[in-house]
């Protein structure tokens, strides 16, 4: 297997939730050791992600693809999995996560993968997952490429659950009340919706008279 050691430094910070990063209760720096394998081959080290601060989301990644272009091609053709094992160390806690994607998707995207680090509100890392950009279809026609990972690291924060919005509702009711007292209720219904009770009898009367009219000339 021809190794092509390539050191790549790639910093991507992305927050993919609406929650501001300040919501995290405790910040931690963390080192995530990555090792990977194609299909049933043994795991080989891929590199590491240094998370300087989970809260700020500053991340850098050093990695090299230990496999050759052909290995990816073979795995893609055999419809094998690409496994990624992440050994995470933070705050003295050690956890091992495993994640996989189809090798053909990775091969087709020319090793452009997305690694997501999942963090809960207490600052625990509870998962690391790898995925290929979802536009891939696994059709299998790719020309030869340099086996360098082009990795995007995302940190996915947990969100606060919804809360019943009583205050907004009460405010809305109050506003409507005030507006009504002032007599400012703007009726934005359409003309027909507003005056249907007058229009319907009118139309009916017209129809009745119209229906009786044609008879007369017939006599």
């Amino acid at each position: 297997m021809a190794l092509q050691p390539v050191l790549q430094c790639f910093i991507v910070v992305c927050l993919f939730s609406i929650v501001s990063k300040g919501e995290l209760e405790s910040d931690a720096s963390s080192v995530i050791q990555l090792s990977h394998s194609l299909g049933s081959r043994p795991f080989e080290p891929r590199g590491q992600i240094n998370v300087r601060s989970l809260k700020l989301g500053s991340v850098n990644i050093q990695q090299d693809s230990s496999y050759d272009w052909k290995d990816y091609k073979e795995a893609a053709e055999a419809n094998e999995f690409y496994h990624l094992e992440a050994f995470v160390k933070y705050n003295g806690i050690e956890r091992t996560f495993l994640t996989s994607t189809k090798a053909c998707l990775l091969y087709e995207s020319q090793l452009a993968d997305i690694i997501t680090i999942h963090v809960d509100l207490l600052g625990n890392i509870y998962g690391v997952s790898v995925a290929a950009p979802h536009s891939q279809q696994c059709t299998g026609t790719v020309s030869e490429f340099e086996p360098n990972f082009n990795t995007t690291v995302l940190i996915s924060y947990m969100e606060h659950g919804p809360v019943p919005d009583v205050a907004m509702y009460v405010q809305k009711v109050e506003q409507e009340k005030v507006a009504k007292e002032r007599g400012e209720t703007k009726d934005n219904r359409s003309f027909i919706a507003k005056y249907w009770m007058y229009i319907v009898p009118l139309v009916l009367v017209f129809m009745m008279s119209g229906a009786s009219n044609p008879d007369q000339p017939a006599r």
Partner: protein, 922 residues
Amino acid sequence: MKTFSFSLCIVFIVIQRIHGLYEDQIGKFDWRQQYIGKVKHAIFDSTGKKIVVGTEENTLALLHAGTGKIEWRHLLGNSAKSKITSLFLLGNGKVASVSSSPTIVRVFDVSSGILQWETAVAKDIQPVVCKWAVSKRDVISVEINPSRSGYDLLLSEYSSVSGTENVAPATELPWFTPGTNCQLVFPHLVCLHPQDDAINIVDIRNSDSHQRIELQNLGITVGADQLVTLGVTKNFVSLRTTDTFSLYKVTDEGLQRTGGEWSGETVLVSVPTVKDAEAQGQYMAALMKREKNYSVRIYDLEADQVLDDVSGDLKLPNQAGEPDLLSTFLMRKPNGELSYRYAISTTDNSFHYGSKKEVYWTREEALTSIVQVEMVDLPVSSIEASIEEEFGSDQPLSGIFGHTIRRLSSQFRQLLIVAQQLVAGQISLVRRDAAGSNNKALERDRFGLHKLILILTQPGKLFAMDTLSGRIVWQRLLKNVNTDKVRLYVQRTSIHYPLEPQCTILTKSSSSNQAVLFVFHPITGEPAQFGSEGYVNLDYNVQQALLLPQNEETEYMKPLLLLDESAAPHVFPPTESAINHVIKLSNNLFMFVADTKSCVLRGYSLAKNTADHLSSAAVWQLQLCSSSDSVEEEIVSIVSRHPEEKVFSQGRVLADRSVLYKYLNPNMVVVATAGANHPHHRGYVNLYLIDVVSGAVVFSTSHRRVQPPYHVVYAENWVVYSYYNEKYRRTELGSLELFEGQTQSNSTAFSSFTAPQPLVDRQAYIYPAHISAMKDTFSEQGMTAKHILLGLTNGWIQELPRVFLDPRRPVVAAATPEMREEGIMPYLPELPVPAEAIINYNQTVSNIKSIYVTPSSLESTALVFVCGSDIFFTHVTPSRTFDVLNDDFEYGFIALVLIGLTLASFITKRLAGKKSLRQAWK
């Protein structure tokens, strides 16, 4: 504007609301059965016509001895740990019950069931020993508490009339050691330490009266590894070694042996309630076990002999377990003969009442601890079966001649069946009434409303119930299994005539840790042709099982995929066609295993190893909970979509005629983890939406300062969950809905590996009641609106339309025309609980634990089975019965109108003909 929006709201409510039941529909398709739980205490009253029972479900009830019906019933709180620990009949027509955790003493009037008084016994420290007894006037409690110098005995007396407490000063017990088994035989406390060879007896009113009696002096020789166990029956204590049994009366002088030689085969003893008060305490009843047969023996203690003519054999029903509670009643017949009645509770949680001759009635109390429910289709009727045979594929005769013979013979058979049914009265020419439908044969009806409910219970007893009447069709007790974990799978339904339907139960062996399968026929309850009498012992321990959604082609069996501890997959049944089916699918088969305590979730992919061998490989692993030990976080629920659920519409049409596509990920599950004792926000619940094929976390959210109970419902593209908000002290419902957006990434197939990131709408609502169970309704084709069934702690079951929980209900903009056009109501933070939405009207279902829903063949109707202390069955029609005629549809009238119209058209035709003829002549 406000009035308009309100009136709009009302209009919507009127539109969405299912109509409540009409009065004449009561009991038409619903039924309820009331239960009490496993009987732990049973006492006959002095007439022998009533039995007072206390159960493990913390229920106190009075049963009518003649019928077994509940006269009255009290559910004394339903926390998991509390149960009735002692039950006494007081002299003055009252009954005293003592419930544990929290300890509460209650006294009821026996005949009316009215509570006389109750008192909570609050304790700072848990006593080492706490025993209860009654004297003539008082309820007495004896506690042994650790003190500075050793152990103290505390005696409290509660007046049976008023409940006033009278505590005697604590006295020291110098001889007491922890681990001692003490029994209270008022006024004596009899104690035996398992390692000791002597019994300690003390009069609780006089601590100086302590006596120590060597077991040898009682005639009991104890071997080195033999244990003596101490039991108590009214005012007797019993000592049991492995092969001997002896009974003693407790007196001031010590223990006095009674009843002479008791055989070691004695299982249970009871002091019978005797009808005439003078003979009270003169007799003793014992249940003996000889090989597999039980017999009841009556002893006359005064004459010290066995009354052989009174004693008799016990004939319990076939599927009953081992007796573990005996209560007896003795009465003298008019001719002077003694006869007995017994009440026996068995290990299958059933409760039997009978006499020497027979068992009069049995209560199946296992139905209060239901583990799983499946509603299965009944087989086709015999007429349809003969049609099936006629058009079946494998025909020996062919050609015109063969077909004619087959047709004639089949029609002759059908004629015979109709004649038989006419004779048996199964077909009535007049309209069938409700009573007539109860004894209908077990065959499929046109609308799939008649099914069989398979009920799997915690003690390992299996029931099949008829949905029309709630009658138990058959029952079966699983033998030699440990039913702590047990699942039921329907492998083949009865659609595949002439193949028989088949169900499988997965559980563990009672002797080892290995898995056992029990295969049976769901309609008859007979074991299938597998293993020994349907039991298949597997030589591995199963950690996960998966019933494949599609059946294989030759035997129409859905294969059961079992993952053993080393994650090696196995297929059941191990037939060639099933294995080939799994191998064919293996590229797309994934399984996941979750450890609820450590919160580790691991996903496996399956692959074929060799030509006919499967293997699995781990593909993902997550660890959800906090690793801090002080925060006790664990998985509280894992919910996936129902495998038979169909989604009718792929998206929602917005007001601007664009489509918002639903995120319909069939591989997504909802995992809820809950933590307690967090330093900042005490209880919290985290919800994870996880794709279990790729291991990707689709969405996660967290609520802080919340308390259990947590319930999660997940269907189509939405999740609804409930929790108790500790801050505002109310139950709230959270609602999430997932959309792909305005474009659909792949309209033909869904792949978890290339799944798009969904948009998540969310909203929360206040629910003004406490929820104890939650479930969504679903229909065969998914066209019918979705409702959520909420089982409430007050025994109601509410049917709440899902549109009320739509997260897109707008808060700020008050019902814009767009929203109105789409049919979305403006946001109201509090959800209504209208009385018409309570599907069980006045039939309160106590202690609701779970709700099961099965669709019928009618698109509009779903069958609902609710269980708890009671069981309740009904139909729900979330979009009303749009596909059937009303019950009160006038068939006669419409026929009359049709005939009238036809006649009128003929007459007018004639008249018109005449008129035109006359005009032609003009």
